[in-house]
């Protein structure tokens, strides 16, 4: 039981190099604290984040996933996040359709100057994931496989 009480979610955050990662940096420099549950993966652009990466993180046992890029119109590569937007819209609907809890996979736009907003995003994502509890859907369990 104590294990569940002490449970802290692991959240994988895919942050774009130019805005959200810099935003996270600013949050740190500005000493805005945010929950230590996120593990950041720096990517060149939110348009680089493929569905394979997101699903792979889920499968490997991430309790939550956050993908964050530049605000629409601010993309360093001009349009990467616009393409990402279409893709994520469809992916989040599809995940909802197969019964993955809404809130497991979150998306946000955070610019390099929004340190405080980055901290807020992480707070709210962490809270949502904590409310959901540990992820079990589409999480690979070796024990379950071995019994079969």
């Amino acid at each position: 039981m104590s294990e569940t009480n002490n449970w802290e979610p692991k959240i994988i955050a895919f942050l774009c190099n130019w805005c959200s990662y810099a935003g996270a940096d600013l949050a740190g420099v500005s000493r805005f604290q945010y929950p230590p549950n996120i593990r950041i993966v720096k990517v060149p652009c939110s348009g680089r984040v493929s569905e394979n990466m997101i699903m792979s993180a889920l499968k490997s046992g991430a309790d939550g996933i956050l993908v964050s890029g530049c605000h629409p119109g601010d993309c360093h590569y001009i349009s990467g996040n616009y393409f990402a937007k279409r893709r994520f819209a469809l992916l989040s609907n599809l995940l909802d359709f197969i019964g993955i809890e809404p809130g497991r996979v979150s998306f946000s736009w955070v610019s390099a100057s929004e340190g405080e907003q980055f901290a807020e995003v992480v707070h709210s994502v962490t809270e949502r994931v904590k409310a959901l509890g540990p992820a079990s859907r589409l999480v690979k369990q070796l024990d379950a496989v071995q019994a079969a």
Binding site: G61, Q141, L142, V145, Q146, A147, A148
Partner: protein, 351 residues
Amino acid sequence: MKVFKISPAELDTMIEQWNKVHVVYAPAMEKQAAASPDCAPGWCRVDGSAALTLLPLLTGPTLASVKPFFFPQPETLLTYTLENTRPDKGMMREPERSKDMQVVLGVRPCDARSVLLNNLPYQEDQFFQANRQRTALVGFICDQTLSTCFCSRMGGSPLDNEGLDLALSRAEDGFIVEVCSEKGEALVTGLELAPAPEGDISALAARRNAGGNPSATELDSLKGSELGTLYDAAMWQSLGEACINCGACTFICPTCYCFDIQDEVVRGQGRRIRYWDSCMFPLYSLHTSGHNPRGQKVQRTRNRFLHKLKYFPDRFGPFSCVGCGRCVKDCPVNIDIREVMDDLMHLTAVE
């Protein structure tokens, strides 16, 4: 060989008895039914008194073959941990293997024969042999066959009990039970069964005799034929063109036994698994160098048929096909192995 006669109610009791000490499986009746979490698609665990509702069986082969009981998808070969804090980090261990006897009900003669055929290449495979040791096949010989059945053409017979541990056949007001092996013997010890009347036994023997001698077939001429003629035949071109190279035929086939081995690591815990592979997939024959000796679709299609009808018999004797007809029914593009055999026979005749 002991032969008993039982009533349907006795069969029910028998299955209940087995269920107390063994793990009992029966064929799922509907393909669309969800797979049970504890066994392969197409099969289900028998729980308690549900036994009789599973019978009578559908005509023809069961939806899935018995292959997964001997050649599980996947089989865990070794396990290990990669956690830094563990002193046994990286040490390979044999997993605990279940020693429980598993009893598989409703097996057809074609599938029973497939186990014997797969046993030829797997003679020295400890995993296959261990599974064989703990699996008893309780089969039903076929009263009727489907239009897609061609076991007699492949050297089997719908009435055969070869490879089964207990062979049941329908008789008036009950079943005749033939005890065909030591495992079968063990299944019926302790049960008080009446010996089958002489009349029923001879009736069954007469039915078998009427079927003729199944072991020799017209296909045997393929075995002596020149490989080059078969290999270079023009028919492969059109066949390969139609084939979509999915693995459906190989995975539903009872006698396809190819595998690949891979390590899987999940959150620091690892296992080495052996899982089904299919010669239809380009990855199957891809070399590390990037070269693929069977890089073209037509080569892969040809390989599957020639393996079954030429390479395997050249090496082991019998054809690697039992004529269950599953691939005939389920091939998405209607590639029919019977037509392939006809074409090959035609070729050798011309030769």
